[in-house]
Symmetry: C2
Subunit: 439 residues, 2 copies
């Protein structure tokens, strides 16, 4: 990857399309502790044996790859360019002035995406591999809806069909996002659905069953297992998803070279970890190889502070259909109150980042469930920098602003970087309900 | 303005931030017929004498400037960069393949904007001039809401207050957009309102008056005229607005150099003309100076086919409070049925473009009021290129696709360019109601 020789003339650091990175960075090669392997539970059918039947082959290869750098196929790079990559890094000069902080603040604009979030980075890669494998269809589940939208877009770009199982309670009220997925050509079912045996059984007991993410996972997996030419696709937690998302941090590193700066602190919201990992993992390489010191801060909600949980084997889903993964977890059946930043409401942090947390490289802050502080911080950002963060991304904004205000007290001239993983154009209801004054 | 020497390696043509144009192009210098001056009507107070009292001085200067090139102040260029300029030009290879057309199709991505539309290009300029003039506040009206949002953003960037009068019938149902404007700090009133004498009088007769754009204009103008330190701001029709919007076409010209191509046909939707003018006017210079031949095609609705109207003096607003401008018009009190592409539902085309139409340089197509064809074309675009156009921009998409399909019949290898003036994330209701299949 060559470094742009153009001198930066503004607060906006942009790489030309041809400088989209050519390799993803695989943290497995440099982990400070060995990555614990996935395991089967004592009871029930083998989850591990099922994986090759329903997962994309190339993604399974990448899941346990040992190489430090993994080539990004040229067609994926082209899709990345068309989807707005590389995305700008911006120095938040107006925000700095408003806060009167000595800190230098930068944000990465992942919201400049066709569907409005960073999820497209892995969706495009997975669909390319599906096409290459000769598949005609993918299945998945979605909770908040960002992942379903991103995969619907990517399937559309690869001429591959998609069936989405969407937790009924969310499916019913997120009408715009549902229409958007269908506009791309995806089939979207409220889960539990009549499409699968698992769904049919639940509907027999309760025709208006509200569903859960665990049930939707079960339906997505059954869909792939019982239909030829179909694979099951996931948008967070797993190692290959983190790998694809490193494109964010790799670009950010080149942009910091343009800026002549380097972050002391990186903030991002963390649910399963794909946004946090994508942004920070390439910088973790610099830290693990002792080239740099960076503090990594995960912004979470008190309803799902999974990094404060136990480091142990647990299921990835509510119903226990996945293999066991060693993760920081609150327990796969923990009850979590609803929040507007629904995308970070997940019981566990993906295995790769859990190892890094265990080895002491990741700090965390959890914000109160009422989300007032988080949305207030987002409002400050909107009024100074002009961009509307998604509710999840508002947590990243809040962490960055809180840290910049600490610098104001201490006088530290820290360099703080955060990632805005998505925009909030389809989530104004969150702003409205939390910030009464804009009603 | 220097031309990038970087070789284009993809279908995405991107200029670095430092190549944001340094001058706007002023078509007044090259018009094939003289620009008819604005006039006062026979009756009532002088509208012309009122202009300097409520309009921004620099914008009034630019309204009748004779110079071909007008410098863009450096702080405005910096704001443009922060707002995502230059915005990419993309070759629509997947759309071309889907249509099986020999035409080469390119689209400009104006939707990559903090508020989601091209309106920010003039909003940022006007707020900079307001700040320079020492003003503390602006007032405006808005119909569909794109302009109100863009000005709310720009005022926030310039630390200037804003009062928006929004047609009550629209204010009430566009809740997300209303919250978005308020999040930027703007005061937003349903019009008619209690804030002005004009509004109070109407409310006395009917406390639930649904309002009209004409009433909102009256309130915005009265607001500026009666409050010190306040000016009135407009987002379309006028010459200085077209001037600021030429940034779109100027960038597009440089991007076509990168692509090694040049458009034979340019399509854009046209209401008052700021999107169409901004995209095409720099190319009109090439045509007027005989350097190139380009066909300019305005995409309109049959409910407001103003370019098929009469070329005569008319008011810019329903209530007749503005000066008379010579324009292609359907009459300032014509009734127009509601459509989803509300932003192109305007009775007249701005004076500059009207002269060009009169001189034979602009063709037009008007689409049926049911909008089915337009949204079907937008769906084809979404499924091939992945981006979600605003309902107004769907008209540009439809015109480009229809022309590309004509090329398929004739075998012509035309180069077709169109502009996507805004995204549709806040307008899914339009897609849903027109395309029943995505419900």
């Amino acid at each position: 990857m060559k470094t742009s020789t153009k001198k930066a003339m503004s607060n906006v650091f942009v790489l030309p399309p041809e400088e989209v990175p050519k390799k993803w960075y695989n943290l497995i090669a440099d982990l400070p502790e060995p990555l614990p392997p996935p395991m089967d539970p004592k009871d029930g059918p083998s989850r591990l044996e099922m994986l090759p039947k329903i997962f994309l082959h190339e993604c399974l290869n990448q899941e346990y790859a040992k190489e430090r750098w993994i080539n990004i196929p040229e067609p994926i790079r082209e899709l990345y360019m068309q989807a707005g990559r590389p995305r700008p890094l911006i120095r938040a000069k107006r925000l700095e002035a408003k806060l009167k902080t000595p800190a230098r603040i930068y944000y990465k604009t992942e919201f400049y995406s066709p569907t409005g979030s960073h999820k497209v980075n892995t969706a495009l890669a997975q669909c390319y591999y599906a096409q290459k494998q000769g598949l005609e269809h993918l299945s998945t589940e979605t909770g908040a809806g960002q992942w379903g939208t991103a995969l619907a877009y990517a399937c559309s770009m690869a001429d591959i069909g998609l069936t989405i199982y969407w937790v009924r309670a969310v499916y019913q009220w997120k009408q715009d996002r549902r229409n958007f997925m269908k506009l791309y050509g995806a089939k979207v079912f409220a889960s539990p659905s009549k499409e699968t045996q698992a769904g049919q059984e639940l509907l027999k007991k309760d025709p208006n069953h509200p569903g859960s993410l665990g049930i939707a996972v079960s339906e997505g997996m059954e869909h792939a297992a019982t239909r030829p030419g179909t694979a099951y696709s996931l948008g967070s937690v797993l190692n290959h998803v983190m790998l694809h998302q490193t494109i964010i941090g790799l670009e950010t590193q080149e942009q910091f070279k343009l800026a002549g700066d380097y972050p002391d602190l990186m903030c991002a919201c963390l649910g399963g970890g794909s946004n946090f990992g994508g942004f920070t993992i390439p910088f973790m390489y610099d830290v693990l190889t002792k080239k740099k010191k960076v503090k990594f801060l995960a912004a979470q909600s008190m309803v799902a502070p999974n990094l404060q949980g136990e480091f142990r084997y647990d299921f990835g889903d509510h119903a226990g259909k996945t293999p066991l993964l060693k993760m920081y977890t609150l327990g796969h059946q923990v009850k979590m109150a609803p929040i507007k930043g629904d995308g970070i409401r997940y019981h566990a942090c993906g295995p790769l980042l859990s190892v890094m947390r265990h080895a002491g490289y990741i700090d965390t802050i959890a914000y109160p469930a009422d989300e007032k502080h988080v949305f207030d911080r987002a409002k400050t950002f909107v009024q100074t920098e002009g961009f509307l963060p998604a509710p999840e991304s508002a947590y990243s904004v809040a962490a960055a602003i809180d840290e910049a205000l600490k610098c104001k007290e201490t006088g530290e001239e820290k360099c703080i970087a955060f990632n805005i993983s998505g925009h909030g154009f389809m989530d104004m209801v969150g702003y409205r309900e939390i910030l009464k004054e804009i009603e």
